[in-house]
Symmetry: C2
Subunit: 169 residues, 2 copies
């Protein structure tokens, strides 16, 4: 699965609501894609956002032991729809700002971030995975810690871990 | 420390005696450096090999409780000198095979692989660190497990983890 052995390159950038993931996207555009700009027709940038699975799949009961009402589920779905739109539109802006004419595909998955990211990379036969070091998302980050190192262990293609200057200790 | 904001790029590739580290070097040459070939005068590839610290620093006693004799220390030093030569010459061949005209610097450090790699990257103000996923070296690998994930956590610049197809499970 060498990039140089194929006509077409697929680069997956896992984006979330963090500034770091936008920094990783920007780094990728400026350091991996811009330098092969002349071949950019053969490169597809896949922006991947992973939503958590629907709450009903987590647990049908809230902390008080009651089933989630349909209105709560609908509110959450609405919240994630808006979040996805906002992240993808921010990512699109980063791409436009780079002034690199590149094919961009948007994908939205749902489930465990590591499983969805690694599964998508494998399914696409991607040549590279790029993500921030502290993703995935503020909730996941708080609950599960960093997803990027788990992905680095599992994913088969080369993976770039990019840190936001803010996250450099 | 953005690559695009500086005239000169420094890319550190941590090499060891594993095939995987040569694969990582080759990947870097073909996917990061080759595409910016026209600017390769401003890019320096730093090949970094880390030897373990001298055995006297580990422990002055061998398993039987005797001090290492000077001959044993000399033999080990000789062994590592040959190993470094062999790894660096293999790395040089990989560079030559890529037919990319790039400035190559060789550095040999001694000590804990993670500390030396991260320290060198910081000292050089490197723009990127590239290494295999299973390094560092067959001894360290067996004793300490993977160094690359520790480096990914510590290093400030973007880091690429490249897997050898053999190590893909």
């Amino acid at each position: 699965m060498e990039v140089e052995n194929r006509g077409e390159k697929k680069i997956v950038v896992a984006v979330d609501e963090s500034e770091e993931s936008m920094h990783a996207l920007s780094w990728c555009l400026n350091n991996v894609i811009s330098v092969s700009h002349q071949n950019s027709n053969s490169t597809t940038l896949v922006l991947l956002y992973v939503k958590p699975p629907p709450p009903a799949n987590y647990s049908a009961f809230d902390v008080a032991g009651y089933l989630f009402g349909n209105d709560v589920v609908a509110d959450l779905e609405d919240y994630y729809r808006k979040l996805v739109d906002s992240v993808m539109s921010k990512a699109q802006q980063v791409c436009m700002k780079s002034k690199i004419n590149i094919k961009v595909e948007k994908k939205v998955g749902s489930g465990d971030a590591k499983d969805v990211i690694c599964g998508t990379v494998e399914k696409l036969g991607a040549d590279m995975l790029v993500m921030g070091s502290h993703g995935y998302g503020f909730l996941k980050r708080a609950i599960l810690g960093s997803v990027s190192y788990d992905c680095a262990k599992q994913v088969k293609c080369p993976m770039v871990v990019v840190k936001h200057p803010k996250n450099i200790s």
